[in-house]
């Protein structure tokens, strides 16, 4: 008997959608708990401790000094250097990554032969571990390296790529090399998702290629552009890998990144400094990402929904 009644009960529940049944709620907790436990233990709870550490004077005294640690870290010249370098790098590399990868995606949208092979080729750097490729970067960009030889053949004087103001250019190139493929795939997927009929109507209305790109495609792509920008921003912090593997703990001034600063601070185990730096970075990331969202919201409004 009760078996026959089951479906009816189910129906009743599904009508009251907003409220979860007790059983559902229990299941929801069961399936989420392993992950949530780990996230709370390894990320969230210690992050509150990080905030606490940033506000006290030292781990023994526990006396609140409020913003002193933040002020001292903002006045720290290595931190300033690292923050400036990282910011400069991101400001140059992120827009370039967005524009170039969009260009590549549009190139592969064109009617050219071997498109799928090209996609594979463009994506391939992503698969190459940074550690495996630094040797060849050394060969190419060393003072006696292949690029300088080319430069000298052109009649210019050789450049010390890793130890001059050109070093930022080198790491931008390395960054783009590694990340463009991934971003390109994101854009290819987004371009594919643009409704064909909208573009066909535009063609019938004799819109030029540029108009179609500027007024239609770009609008539909706006959320992807946002995503690629955020992703590139996060990845731009990872360029430390290349820099570290190429030049070690103390690179040339313009290559001294935030991660170098953190590594060296970890070595001296200065929790106050570390915590304050981590919080400042977290705040800056939140602000930047928030701003990007606001910009996207304004720009892409027309096609949402």
């Amino acid at each position: 008997m009760p078996e026959e009644q089951m479906p009816e009960e189910e129906l009743k529940i599904s009508y009251k959608k907003p409220k979860m049944s007790k059983k559902d709620r229990k299941n929801a907790v069961i399936y989420l708990s392993p992950s949530l436990f780990g996230v709370l233990l390894f990320f969230v709870i210690p992050f509150f401790v990080v905030i606490y550490y940033a506000l006290v004077d030292n781990p023994i005294n526990h006396e609140f000094v409020w913003f002193d640690n933040f002020i001292s870290i903002l006045q720290n010249s290595s931190f300033q250097q690292a923050a400036k370098n990282t910011a400069t790098f991101s400001v140059v590399a992120v827009p370039l990554a967005v524009v170039l990868s969009l260009g590549m995606a549009m190139l592969l949208e064109q009617n050219i032969p071997m498109r799928s092979q090209f996609r594979t080729f463009f994506l391939s750097p992503m698969m190459v571990p940074v550690a495996s490729i630094v040797l060849i970067w050394q060969v190419l960009f060393d003072y006696h390296g292949a690029i300088n030889e080319f430069v000298m053949n052109l009649g210019a004087s050789p450049i010390d790529w890793f130890k001059s103001s050109y070093s930022q250019i080198v790491i931008v190139i390395l960054f783009l090399w590694k990340n463009l493929g991934y971003n390109m795939i994101l854009f290819m997927a987004a371009l594919n998702a643009i409704p064909r009929d909208v573009l066909e109507v535009a063609t019938l209305e004799s819109a030029t290629e540029f108009q179609k790109f500027w007024y239609i495609k770009l609008r539909y792509l706006s959320s992807t552009i946002l995503f690629v920008a955020i992703l590139s921003l996060i990845n731009s912090f990872k360029v430390f890998r290349e820099v570290y593997l190429l030049t070690g703990d103390y690179p040339y001034d313009t290559l001294y990144m935030l991660q170098h600063f953190m590594n060296n601070t970890f070595r001296s185990l200065d929790y106050q400094k570390l915590s304050a730096a981590a919080i400042i970075m977290a705040l800056v990331m939140c602000i930047v990402i928030g701003l990007l969202f606001i910009v996207e919201d304004k720009f892409g409004k027309d096609v949402e929904g």
């Binding site: 979860m20 996230v39 050219i112 698969m127 495996s132 040797l135 060393d142 570290y244 570390l274």
Partner: protein, 303 residues
Amino acid sequence: MKKPKRRRHIFKKILLTAVAFLFAISFLLPTILTIANSFMSSAEINTNYGVIFNQYKETQYGERNTDYVAEKVNLKFIPDMVDLSQYSTVLLKSPEYLLKFWNSVILTVPIVIFQIIIALGAAYSFTRFRGRLKEIIFFLYVALMLMPFQVTLVPNYLVADWLHILDTRWSIMLPGFFAPFSVYLLTKFMRRIPNSLIEAAKLDGANEWQIFSRICVPLCKGSIASVAILVFIDYWNMVEQPLIMLSDADKHPLSVFLSQINTGEVGLAFAVATIYMVPTILIFLYGEEYLVDGISYSGSVKG
């Protein structure tokens, strides 16, 4: 009227293809060069790149290398003679490289497996049951995902210190198990499973575990492969965590150790670098479609 237009079309096609080729070459070149160089004998490497790597050697030992060294660096794609001596040295004579390779494997593989298992549960929970609290927690995951290493490593380090697992592999693996990236991506995939399927199973009397293990997980097989590939690449490439968590260099993965290879052994380094690429390249060759799918779905921020 028609002809010039057609000609312009062909011209455009050639031009675009040429551009694509140029890009393709510059994307492939460094990888190919590394692989090609690994097949050269150490004498040949020394001749070609001695200019670059010997200067460090000189400062290190204070003596000159007496081998013949070319004045200029000599980039070559095809070795004079294919020579496997570098590989035999790496694989047979110097166990330290294999040990470091093993370190990479033993760090990466458990992270991939457990991160996905744990994330599957969380993704299921986020997909099946919605509520205000769920949305907040999901937002927390996304925010965590967006934080760079420099931010998350500090909390990770503190916990590792409390649990007394610093200097052990657990200090890298445990935070890796719970990294929110897989949760985010798997949730996106799972939300695409039609609700009617789940409702139907429920009507047939399936319990929660059966819905999870017989319907949701099998339907996500492809996505699990995509996520696994992305996570594997990410951790195979790790540099930051071992530098901070493992002060004992013996436990470092090859990704960190490679840069410390003595500059006198450049030839060896090329071979080691190539060996280190093999797993990711194989995954790429066999799983490119999954990889592309995974990337594509990570795409839209909303939804």
